[in-house]
């Protein structure tokens, strides 16, 4: 059976990540197995008067080594760091998929790589040069580096993708929306293959100041669901999938990693920063409905879990509302405790965590969880990951503005 209710089925054949705890999927996974924390002292630029002095930065990423074989896209080396992350994660995913590049059927392939903010660090550098150093002009590539669709364009050029190519933008739900849209494109027969996910790299003086002024960053660390949690910790990175129509993957003998079985997306339409229970619950419910799964079928849920006071309690309440009694049996974790909050890229990285969890029957932990908040009373797999049978997983992404997106992953369909 290749269609459910006449619908084309969509599978994942490639995964790629760049994160503070590993710049490839195997390193990232290995770090999670060791409950490694990617939060460290902020650095890489003058900190001046900053008060928040921690972040989950990627400190060992060599873009020249990772992208030197790019041949069709001549200028990715000169792109913003966020495009480098996207290029490297897409490259890893494409290699794992075994797809030949440039793609054989360019108009039947999509490239949807979002970003919450695009090249903000390029912006800052350009404006410093103009306003502080009184330079006569910005670097000629400034505009191309800044635009939030540049990562999608770079990757699309490199792989010769001529179908729908653009970025999504929904703050912390960006990657999940990108993957959800790509899923729908394949289901509807617009394309057969898609590279989808998101990338983010905004840790600089100006962004830190902006986040600081919102007073939601923790000065100490990212402790989801813990009583001591006092804000999130900014991260950076990329998470990208290669997904394709089931028969397309089978025909070329691809190794199928998982199936994307459900997607749900809603908006709270309520408040820019205070989430409601209804929007997130409805997104989870729609994703389960789309997957034609009862809530009891989900074994592991990768929570949005930002470690802000309000998100973790609200998400816990939303999970209880959707899952009922099963909420207490469900293994839930926030991997942001390890890789920080990579904003738009979060859902891409966390999708990979879900897919790996099913592949290895092991769920990653929520680290730093020593004193659970009584208002967060579910099983968040504290501090150490767990071996368990994992057949279906859910990944939650909830963003500022009340923008919610949820994906459900299932096993590779039996041949």
């Amino acid at each position: 059976m290749t269609e459910t209710n006449g619908r084309r089925r969509v599978v994942v054949t490639g995964t790629g990540v760049v994160t503070p705890i590993g710049t490839t999927v195997p390193e990232f996974w290995d770090s999670m197995k060791q409950s490694k924390c990617g939060v460290s002292e902020l650095g890489g630029f003058p900190l001046e008067d900053l008060k928040i002095l921690i972040a989950a930065q990627i400190k060992n990423f060599d873009h020249k080594a990772r992208l030197k074989h790019f041949s069709r896209d001549k200028i990715i080396m000169h792109a913003d760091r966020y495009s480098w992350f996207a290029g490297a994660a897409a490259d890893e995913a494409v290699k794992q998929s075994g797809l030949e590049m440039p793609v054989a059927d360019p108009y039947r392939t999509a490239c949807i790589i979002g970003s919450g903010a695009g090249g903000l660090t390029t912006y800052e550098e350009a404006y410093r040069n103009l306003f502080i150093h009184n330079k006569r002009a910005t670097h000629p590539l400034t505009l191309l580096r800044i635009i939030g669709s540049s990562a999608a364009a770079h990757v699309g050029i490199e792989y010769g993708i001529k179908g729908p190519t653009f970025a999504t933008c929904s703050a912390c739900s960006t990657a999940t929306h990108a993957i959800g849209l790509a899923l729908e494109y394949i289901r509807r027969g617009v394309v057969d293959v898609a590279i989808a996910g998101a990338s983010e790299s905004v840790i600089n003086y100006g962004t830190m100041k902006a986040w600081q002024a919102l007073h939601v960053l923790s000065p100490e660390g990212c402790f989801p669901f813990d009583k001591k949690r006092n804000g999130t910790v900014l991260g950076e990175g990329a998470g990208i999938l290669v997904i394709e129509e089931l028969e397309h993957a089978r025909k070329r003998g691809a190794n199928i990693l998982a199936e994307i079985v459900g997607y749900g997306s809603t908006s709270d339409a309520r408040d820019m920063v205070n989430p409601g229970v209804e929007g997130p619950s409805e997104a989870m419910r729609l994703a389960l409905l789309d997957a034609e799964l009862e809530p009891e079928k989900i074994d592991y849920l990768n929570a949005h879990g930002t470690a802000t006071a309000i998100n973790d309690e609200n998400e816990t309440n939303a999970i209880k509302q959707v899952y009922g009694d099963h909420a207490r049996k469900l293994a839930i974790s926030s991997t942001k405790s390890m890789h920080g909050h990579p904003l738009g890229a979060g859902g891409g990285i966390e999708a990979v965590a879900c897919i790996k969890a099913m592949e290895e029957n092991w769920v990653p932990p929520t680290i730093g969880l020593t004193d659970p908040d009584p208002a967060c009373d579910l099983d968040y797999v504290p501090n150490k990951g767990r071996e368990m049978e994992v057949t279906y997983t859910m990944s939650n992404s909830f963003a500022f503005g009340g923008l919610n997106a949820v994906l459900v992953f299932g096993p590779a369909p039996a041949a």
Partner: protein, 91 residues
């Protein structure tokens, strides 16, 4: 109300949808329907007005932001701390 207090009340009123004239030191911020984003903007305005920095984290319930009076006390303490002995001598 002294100058610090009336400046703070003015800032609060600026950020209220329906400014009231009955704001006292004992008024609770909660009763002024001030929400988290409003508070971030109010803190910013106060910092600019008094040339101070207020330690504030939206994730924590802080006593300093319970009533108008507690905000005034906090600001007064920070102003004194930042201007040191000079302000104390003038007062």
């Amino acid at each position: 109300m002294d100058e610090v207090a009336s400046k703070i009340v003015d800032i609060l009123k600026k950020h209220m949808k329906e400014p009231r004239d009955d704001i006292a030191l004992s008024t609770e911020l909660q009763d002024l329907s001030i929400e988290s984003l409003d508070l971030a903007m109010i803190v910013f305005d106060i910092e600019d007005t008094f040339g101070i920095e207020i330690p504030y984290n939206a994730n924590e319930d802080v006593e300093d932001f319970k009533t108008v009076g507690s905000v005034v006390d906090k600001v007064r303490a920070l102003v004194e701390a930042s201007s040191g002995g000079a302000a104390a001598a003038k007062a």
